[in-house]
């Protein structure tokens, strides 16, 4: 602490940006590490589910993500001749930017949060909605029919699932009576049965499944749909430009896992009274949600694009709306405490 104060006096007015930058790096760098090892975890876990080994050569598999990253960095980024160069490079940037920026308001514990803003939930909603622009821009700028179809599918899908997700979160904010993520978690205090997954169970399911759709993961991976439109919006990308999309997808997965844990699974709170809370609980809950993501991918066939839309508009949005009304009505009765 004294050391920090010394630095603060040394830097003077430059202190605030420098200290913020340090904090940002302290979030982003471990996040990138998590992304790298999430890819390894995915390949290993799906490998075991599919009676095979998964990567086991580079450092017994443990160095595989690093080898992949190095390989992608040294590969040429091929720009298709008809592509719009500026937008072609803007695409990956647009998709990774929100995936990282959303972490600014994610509370890791009750005190460990970069920006404890009151409208944290709104901020998250706003920022994550931006991610789709990266996909759309990339699909359009590539000047490829496959990429264009991918972009179309992705925009339609994300726009419709955004609404279901939004309504699911409205349920949370009604229960917590706050948009501040720290307060949302604090409102769930009291153990496993007090977390919002129970009173808001339909919302929880809708949010989780919409999250899978939002991140373009199987069985909702129609924007990539490798057996239909080959790789969809990033078909023309190679090298690091492709890797950035890849990073964005996995960063988004981790983000959705974090948000699900915070909104519905009590964030850093421990499931049993008496056991201390802490970041380890958040990590465990996120790992569980991420495992579900991988499990889905190994198990389910891919939805067709129109079926996804149907599921979003005709099932999820009505379910959330009905539950919102029910929740609102119940909160006016003596039984309202069930929802708090």
């Amino acid at each position: 602490m004294e050391l920090l104060q010394t630095f603060e006096q040394m830097l003077g007015p430059a202190w605030v940006p420098v200290w913020t930058l340090v904090k940002i790096l302290a979030i982003v760098l471990p996040l990138m590490g998590c992304v790298a090892y999430l890819t390894l975890a995915e390949r290993k876990i799906i490998g075991w589910m599919q009676v095979r080994m998964g990567p086991n050569r580079v450092g017994y598999g443990w160095l595989q993500p690093i080898a992949d990253a190095v390989k992608l960095m040294f590969k040429e980024i091929i720009i298709p001749s008809g592509a719009n160069k500026a937008l072609f490079f803007l695409g990956p940037v647009l998709s990774i930017m929100p995936a990282l920026a959303a972490w600014a308001v994610i509370p890791f514990t009750d005190t460990l949060v970069l920006a404890n803003v009151d409208a944290g939930l709104l901020y998250v909603m706003a920022i994550t909605s931006l991610g789709v622009y990266g996909v759309v821009v990339a699909g359009w700028a590539s000047n490829s029919k496959y990429a264009f179809l991918g972009a179309l599918r992705s925009s339609a899908q994300i726009v419709s699932y955004e609404i279901a997700m939004g309504f699911a979160l409205v349920g949370v904010l009604m229960s917590a009576q706050s948009l501040n993520l720290v307060e949302i978690v604090e409102a769930q205090k009291g153990g496993f049965w007090q977390w919002y997954w129970l009173p808001l169970f339909p919302m929880f399911l809708v949010y989780l499944i919409s999250g899978v759709a939002e991140t373009n993961r199987a069985p909702f991976d129609v924007a990539e749909g490798e057996s239909e439109i080959v790789a969809g919006f990033h078909i023309e990308y190679s090298g690091m430009a492709f890797a950035v999309f890849f990073l964005a997808e996995y960063a988004n997965m981790i983000l959705i896992a974090a948000l699900t844990s915070i909104m519905f699974l009590g964030g850093w709170l421990s499931p049993f009274p008496g056991i201390p809370d802490g970041f380890i609980w958040l990590a465990a809950k996120m790992s569980f949600v991420l495992f579900l993501f991988l499990w889905f991918r190994a198990t389910f066939p891919r939805y067709r694009y129109d079926q996804i839309m149907r599921l979003g508009w005709k099932v999820f949005i009505p379910v959330t709306l009905v539950w919102l009304v029910l929740e609102g009505a119940f909160m006016q009765t003596p039984l309202g405490y069930l929802f708090h």
Binding site: Q50, L149, R153, P219, G225, A298, P301, R302, R304
Partner: protein, 420 residues
């Protein structure tokens, strides 16, 4: 003109393939799309054309056998079977009964190989990844059988006019100790006996494994949404389009050459023909899965018979089949036979013959015209996949791109036999 004010709206034309993960080889499909809806599907073929029919005109009858493997390279021995049957018909010979049973067994093993590959790739096309690896696990065992018996994992070149190349070996190759094989005893547990023992063990394991595949797919809501009502072909239309095999049976026709005009030892076999109802992708899926169970039954019956009945596996006529090594080394006449057979080849009497087998994909037929020389005057192949692919437009019209993939999968297309 009034229409000038309206923006010209054109459909999107897209090249689906020939380099496409779901094109199953080199299918080039020109799709005309209205949004994602297919307005017209135009399959282009010929990218894998190797002129098998023409090549056969310059090869002796024996030399053409391995070319048959490479037609539909997923059902190798069945292609050989049709070819050998056509030649046998011209020669007026019958293979020994044991050879017939071996052929039936290998046909069915091949059908399993084909259907397993089909199920895996169809699943993969529709987005179910795990089924692919499950299926390849079983394919590995069957390919080991192929290798043990014929020496090759895929392109067997095992059938001969007049029988099969050699009898089934008495031992099953085992895994050898090397880095990474820690559980050697476990891996070799079912490889202690003969090849037939190994196959028998497989037939006992296999039904439970099919249950495993079905657990993943049959009642899966997404799988059903993706296949039910997709690519519907009415029974009348299926007949008009020249469909055969599971494509025809999926539409409700119980037509199977193994029952309708039994060849080899099929008349001794006890099996059933699964038939679909609606003629959609899901019914064809169910038909093929049930066919796997029935094939397994046939294999089990063959193993049982083959264990009890030893005997010759190729005819003794040395103008057609080579003499044994020992006889050839000690006997002048056999030596001459051997020399003539492997230089000049067999002479097939003048005439023409058509032989067809119930191939994994449908009716595979070989039509040979012989002018009495040591090679065919003309060879014509009837590939089951060809009429199936020709129905692409009809089946895909009005569906979406993702359904086109499911339809290609359900057709079980292999370009080796479509392009020949």
């Amino acid at each position: 003109m009034e229409t000038a004010a309206v923006a010209e709206i054109r459909n999107y034309t897209m090249n689906f393939g020939p380099q496409h993960p779901a094109a199953h080889g080199v299918l080039r499909l020109v799709l005309e799309l209205d949004g994602e809806v297919v307005e017209r599907a135009d399959p282009h073929i010929g990218l894998l054309h190797r002129a098998t029919e023409k090549l056969a005109e310059h090869k002796t009858f024996l030399q053409s056998v391995p070319y048959m493997d490479r037609l539909d390279y997923m059902s190798m021995t069945m292609n050989e079977h049709a070819y050998c049957m056509a030649v046998e018909k011209l020669l007026g010979i019958e293979p020994p009964i044991r050879a017939k049973y071996i052929r039936v067994m290998f046909d069915e093993i091949t059908r399993l190989l084909n259907h397993l590959l089909w199920l895996g790739t169809h699943g993969l096309d529709v987005g179910a990844m795990t089924i692919f690896l499950y299926c390849f696990r079983e394919r590995e065992d069957l390919m080991d059988v192929y290798e043990a018996v014929t020496g090759a994992r895929m392109h067997a070149a095992y059938y001969r006019p007049g029988g099969v190349y050699r009898d089934l070996p008495d031992c099953m190759p085992q895994f050898k100790a090397e880095a990474g094989h820690k559980d050697l005893d476990y891996l070799n547990a079912n490889r202690q006996g003969s090849v037939l023992d190994f196959i028998e063990d497989f037939t006992k394991r296999f039904p439970a494994l099919v249950d495993e595949y079905e657990t993943l797919l049959t009642d899966n809501r997404i799988w059903k949404q993706r296949t039910v009502g997709i690519g519907v072909v009415t029974p009348e239309r299926a007949k008009q389009l020249g469909f055969t095999g599971p494509m025809l049976r999926g539409s409700g026709f119980a037509w199977d050459l193994r029952k309708m005009q039994p060849y080899a030892a099929y008349e001794h076999m006890d099996f059933e023909i699964p038939v679909g109802k609606n003629g959609d992708c899901y019914d064809r899926y169910l038909v093929r899965v049930e066919e796997m169970r029935q094939s397994n039954r046939i294999i089990a019956q063959c193993v049982d018979w083959l264990k009890k009945n030893p005997g010759p596996v190729i005819i003794e006529n040395h103008k057609i089949a080579p003499p044994g090594r020992e006889a050839m080394k000690s006997n002048m006449e056999e030596l001459i036979h051997h020399f003539k057979l492997f230089t000049e080849g067999m002479h097939v009497p003048e005439g023409e013959a058509y032989a067809a087998v119930e191939h994994a994909k449908g009716e595979f037929g070989v039509y040979i015209v012989s002018d009495g020389a040591n090679k065919p005057y003309r060879l014509k192949l009837r590939a089951p996949g060809f009429p199936h692919l020709a129905a692409m437009d009809e089946m895909a019209r009005g569906h979406m791109i993702a359904d086109v993939v499911a339809i290609i999968g359900t057709m079980d297309i292999v370009f080796g036999d479509i392009d020949r």
